[in-house]
């Protein structure tokens, strides 16, 4: 809101604009399809024209893989909804594309780009966001300060394209999410033990998902079942029965 107060009709029109903006943001939000998450996000889903940060909870390759799959599931659903492609920018390409396909991202839906360093990765992401023809843009970086995330946020808003920043650990003991950022939501993902099966074998993977910060809402944390081959998450069966209690626990954890 601007500090200069005008006459009545001016104020009214400004208010109408902001309400329309809010409605637009809610309309372009991308829901997870899981009531336990969507209900606690301010826009009822991820804002479709904003920056979101996803980081592994620990500097282990497993948590990085979980964070990657979490992001892959989101963009897979976006790509299917938009009927377009996703740009995936990394500085060191160690993704295994068959694994991504099992999260719902077939080869025809992703364009990979390899930047020489974090700066180039961010520049490539910005170009992709401003083009406005992509379903989403993902970048893997180690270092992204306030300026970089602000630029990405503006580019995402200009191109009406969601941007996902997959952070990687730079050094032991410093969580990448401890840096300041202009991201709308910041997530922290960790592997969680899967539910034991009655027979020998590994059950559906589970993640401990923690929303560290969101604009206009409260943080929360909960355990979800990993995305399936369409990129959809699910709540564990036992937690689904206790949805009301989980909300309270999440609010306390925040």
């Amino acid at each position: 809101m601007s500090a200069v107060a005008g006459s009545h009709p001016e104020i009214l029109s400004r208010l109408r604009e902001s309400v329309a903006d809010l409605c637009l943001r809610q309309a372009q939000a991308v829901p997870f399809g899981v009531a336990g998450i969507d209900g606690r996000l301010a826009d009822g889903g991820l804002d479709g024209a904003a920056l979101h940060e996803i980081a592994p909870a620990a500097p282990s390759l497993n948590d990085e893989a979980a964070a990657t799959l979490f992001a892959a599931g989101i963009v897979a659903r976006l790509a299917v909804a938009a009927g377009s492609r996703v740009l995936w920018v990394a500085s060191r390409f160690d993704l295994y594309a068959p694994g991504l396909e099992q999260a719902g991202l077939p080869p025809g839906r992703v364009i990979f780009a390899e930047g020489r360093d974090d700066r180039e990765v961010l520049a490539l992401m910005e170009d992709g966001l401003r083009h406005a023809g992509l379903a989403a843009v993902i970048g893997e970086v180690r270092r992204a300060d306030m300026t970089a995330s602000r630029r990405l946020q503006l580019a995402a808003d200009a191109g009406k394209t969601p941007a996902l920043l997959a952070r990687r650990w730079r050094r032991q003991g410093t969580c990448p999410l401890s840096e300041l950022s202009a991201a709308t939501t910041r997530w922290r993902i960790a592997c969680a033990p899967s539910a034991p099966l009655p027979a020998p074998g590994v059950g559906r993977a589970r993640w401990a998902v923690e929303l560290v910060r969101q604009r206009g809402g409260n943080p929360f944390s909960l355990t979800v079942e990993a995305c399936d081959d369409t990129g959809c998450l699910a709540l564990p069966a036992d937690a689904a029965h206790r949805a009301a209690a989980a909300v309270g626990a999440g609010a306390r954890a925040a």
Binding site: L69, G99, V110, F112, V202
Partner: protein, 588 residues
Amino acid sequence: MLPTERLRRLEPARAQPEPRAAPSLPVDDDPGACSVPRGGHWRPGARWARSDRAAGDRAAVAAGAAALPLHQQPTMRELGRRSEAAEHPFKGRAHAPLAAPAAPLPIAPAAAPLILAAPVGNRQLIAAACPAALALGLAPGMAVTQARALVPGLDIRPADPAADRAVLDRLALHAVRHWTPTAAVSGDDGIWLDLTGVAHLHGGEERFCRRVIGLCRRLRLTARIAVAGTPGAAHALARFGGQPVVRIAGGKEAQALSPLPLASLRVPPDILSAASRFGLERVGDLLPMPRGPLARRLGLPALRRLDQALGRVAEPIVPVVPEEVPVATLRLLEPIGTAEAIEQVIRDLLALLVEQLREGGAGARALVLALERVDGSEQRLPIGTSRATRDAAHLARLFHLRIERIDPGSGIETMRLAATRTEPLGATALGTTLAGDDGPADLSTLVDQLAGRAGAEALFTVGAVESDVPERATARHGPLDAPPGWPAWTRPVRLLRRPEPLSNVLALLPDQPPRRFTWRGQAHAVVAGDGPERIHGEWWRRDGEVWAVRDYFRVEDDSGARFWLFRRGDGVDAATGDLSWYMHGMFG
């Protein structure tokens, strides 16, 4: 002959071993140093026993043997020196090499006679025949069934006139670019070159003919050339002259053509048959005849062909025009050096170039901007696009990314923009956009932009390769491709570059996942595991993989981390692997 030679060019030179002449060993007729001659009779003073002749022969044989390559040199025994012990034929021989060394020279293939069949109505007729087939009596126009009955083992292939024509077109284009500005394809098997005023550039007509024949020989084509004052005469002499190079002076056409058959005049077959009824066989038969009755009997076309061949009627050659590269050039009044000015000039150049491209119905795939500086040096700035485009704004954006690489020096005075690679590009339909229903946006502009920033090889998609070995199952494709996916075996999302060995592995053989393992110095206790998924080595790639087996397991440790491990070997047969364990990837 061109169609058959074109096909022969396509097939690789078949390396057939040349029938090698056996090393000519000296006949063991010479008694040499043997004290008792053949037959045992001793006759002093006999001619064969004279020492000088025997010594000369022996020296000649020894010299001949020494001149042979080492492996062909006859042994002592073969040279007739029986005092030496003969070598055992199978003793101490090196084994023959497994792969014979490649033949150093391409050997002309001794292939079966080749004919090309083309359907005429309901019948298959010979359209062309190679020299070997012609020598066997097969001629174009004969029925293929008859040829097959005459010559067993005949190589019969379908004729492809379009491909023959393409070869000729390319040759004519080469001629226009390198030899003479006026060149055209003539008939199904020839090229007209107008040498007027250009022969001296190639060192005279004779030298030029030699060079053309040499070029065609390198292309594995047989060329016959005639140089004459009129196209008609050259056409006739090249096809019916009977020599590889025929050159006649101007005004001697009538003399040179008179012994040739009438068919050399490019007249249709009905006129030929009419002429044969009148007893006119050769061109020379037409020359003394009055023109009026000749025209009445054979028709005007025959007369016109004759006049064209003799130079009485002009016959211009319609030359092949090579397509030109669209170029826009701007010479600047004053040298420029600032980025803004350069960008403005680039925009002006693009406007000019796009106009040319639109007229030609083409889109640019590669552009080169050449900047000439005041000091005379030239700088070149190439860009490429992933799809043909003539969108000036898009191209300007691509150049904008590269402007910082321009070094203006003391100023740029000429800028030239050329579309070095173009593709046909029609008009774009705007219908869907006008209706407000945009399809998926065109990503090619984005790909160009990103490639301009990070390099063309930095953008890719990853598609499947038909291999079960995980490291080999992926391959990079172009950024706008949609390659096929993989089968639905569970695969991790991150794969280690190289599998890392595990230590302290505790597992039940043969097919249980490990109970615990240590990786990167950290111990993991496994609570659940899936597997094994057995992947066999690809024996066709390496000898080491013939028996190799990897058993992959998906395990979860007590902290919830999920890994992809494998064991080398199936746990039963020692040849399949040494039972060592490796970490290969991480599931989320």
